[in-house]
């Protein structure tokens, strides 16, 4: 039990306190450890561990092939891809006058070819899938189910349209007319009285038209209905407030959770 539980918990407490209070100790070795070595040690440790990961991946894929599980043919591609990358990484540089070690970031090597024509296109295309998923997610999720969902929808649309060139060509008067129509629909569905709706819409149109013609239909006046300015206001104020409260919540959450780990109050990641 000593080696399996107490020493790991001791390591967490010692290293945790050192990296937390090291920020306040003006002593070169501790400063160097907190500023530099702590993360470097971790990077080295992670670089050893990734061999475990590679081994686990190979084991899983080989098992699939040997036991002829469903879709085992595709595992051959995974194994082949892994071996190709390992060969490019450790055995065959492809460009003799590049030293070992710099060949992973230098031009003209097999490693760079794999990066340019296999790794990069696959990564960029998977990322680009999001353009489709963002569209289908917003289509499905932006529904006026309740007031909160409506806020989500309205602020999303205003930002979406306000930040692209198209948005800056839409006149604020167009938005005003739109609001009059939407107001009309709302009144109609609430009072269910055609007369009220007709009055509201016609009065609204008269007001907007007279105001517009008197001001000479300026594209971006009144500013509050000009999408680019409205989106900037939403983005710099209510959005910053919402983001800030979440940031503080996360900051406090991470702080409290870290203290629980350092003080050994929570240790289930090492096992009860």
């Amino acid at each position: 039990m000593l080696w399996k539980r107490h020493i790991p918990i001791l390591i967490v407490a010692v290293i945790g306190s050192l990296t937390l209070f090291g920020w306040f100790i003006d002593e070169p070795n501790i400063k160097a450890f907190v500023n530099d070595d702590a993360t470097q040690w971790f990077d080295i440790l992670a670089s050893f561990a990734i061999f475990l990961g590679g081994f686990n991946l190979l084991k899983m894929q080989l098992q699939k092939v040997l036991r002829k599980k469903q879709g085992w043919q595709y595992s051959l591609f995974a194994i082949g891809g892994f071996i190709l990358a390992i060969i490019a990484g450790f055995f065959y540089k492809g460009n003799p006058d590049v030293a070992w070690g710099t060949h992973v970031t230098a031009d003209g090597t097999l490693f760079k070819w794999i990066f340019m024509y296999i790794f990069a296109p696959l990564g960029a295309t998977m990322f680009a899938l999001l353009a489709f998923f963002v569209a289908s997610a917003s289509y499905r999720a932006f529904r006026i189910r309740n007031f909160e969902a409506t806020l989500l929808l309205v602020s999303g649309i205003i930002i979406m349209i306000g930040r692209v060139p198209l948005g800056s060509s839409i006149s604020s008067w167009f938005i005003l007319y739109l609001l009059v129509l939407i107001g009309g629909i709302a009144i109609n569905s609430v009072f269910k009285n055609k007369q009220y709706t007709a009055i509201f819409v016609s009065v609204g149109i008269i007001i907007v038209t007279s105001a517009g013609s008197s001001m000479g239909w300026p594209l971006d006046q009144p500013g509050i209905f000009y999408l680019p300015h409205l989106q900037e206001w939403i983005y710099m104020n209510p959005n910053v407030a919402g983001t800030r409260s979440i940031m503080m919540g996360i900051g406090l959450g991470i702080f409290a959770t870290s203290i629980r780990y350092i003080l050994g109050i929570e240790k289930s990641y090492i096992g009860e």
Partner: protein, 287 residues
């Protein structure tokens, strides 16, 4: 407030620090004094409420829908005879969210042991693989079902963000899990997972402190633990008194933060109109 020895130790520490301070505070990085005091005050608040909870004081915690839904989701998977997919984020154990994700995995694997549901945990980092395997093995042992645990339940795919997303997509559309749980630190791939999970009709519960990804989880998943709610998950799921006390302590820290903000606004007002010459912004200087 009758925690005498806590008060004594706080008094002792403060006294010791004052003596050290006036003795010239050797080796102390003076410009970070405010951060030091903040850490001591916040940690003290946490400790106070943790001790209070350990002494058996009853602490109320409001419901978090997402956490109650986890047990329902595992139950639903059992009825449909389908696996539960659990993704502990794509970052390594050097991120606090990943550690929290592994701890929540410990609780979820207790449920899957109890309900005898198959659990599939693809991971993107090798150290997370080891930690997750240890956590699951421990949970299955504690539920008296070591026979159901096998190492391949937690398996490594790749360190690369989008290759991992591609691999998890493949698992989703082929094994069609009934419940997808995303607990940890995520980046842009969050919406790829959530949209694919939605397309196979799974119940999706996400928990993350990755600020930029919360909107996607909120729109695409059934339940989302937002930022701090995710860190409170282990207290809710374990119901251990000291963890619940810690959450209560966090709430009290929020009261301190809000008081600091409102007090700060007042102090700035007085400073701007010249009644006092203490600049709160300078005092809270971030270094």
């Amino acid at each position: 407030m009758n925690d005498r020895d806590f008060m004594i130790s706080v008094g002792g520490i403060s006294l010791a620090f004052l003596i050290y301070w006036f003795a010239g505070h050797p080796y102390f990085v003076t410009e970070r004094l405010v951060m030091f005091l903040t850490i001591m005050i916040f940690s003290g608040t946490l400790m106070f409420y943790i001790r209070k909870a350990r002494r058996g004081e009853d602490i109320f915690l409001r419901d978090i829908p997402g956490l109650k839904a986890i047990e329902e989701a595992v139950g639903r998977s059992t009825e449909m005879g389908k696996p539960v997919l659990y993704v502990p984020g794509i970052m390594d154990m050097d991120q606090v969210e990943t550690v929290a994700g592994v701890i929540v995995l410990g609780h979820v694997s207790k449920m899957t042991a109890r309900y005898e549901t198959t659990l599939n945990v693809p991971v993107s980092r090798a150290i997370v693989m080891k930690a997750a395997q240890e956590a699951c093995k421990e949970s299955y042992l504690m539920e008296g079902r070591p026979d159901m645990f096998h190492d391949d339940m937690v398996h490594y795919l790749t360190d690369e963000q989008f290759a991992f997303a591609a691999g998890v997509n493949g698992i989703m559309v082929r094994e069609k899990p009934a419940a997808c749980l995303y607990m940890g630190k995520f980046y842009a791939e969050s919406l790829i997972l959530a949209e694919t999970g939605n397309s196979i009709g799974a119940i999706q519960i996400a928990g993350t402190a990755s600020q930029a990804q919360i909107p996607f989880f909120v729109t695409a998943c059934d339940y989302t633990l937002i930022g701090e709610e995710f860190f409170a998950a282990s207290a809710y799921l374990s119901q251990r008194p000291e963890l619940i006390g810690g959450v209560k302590g966090q709430d009290m820290i929020k009261v301190i933060v809000i008081a600091t903000i409102l007090g700060g606004v007042l102090l700035r007002l007085l400073n701007d109109i010249g009644l006092i010459n203490f600049n709160i912004l300078q005092f809270l200087k971030v270094t």
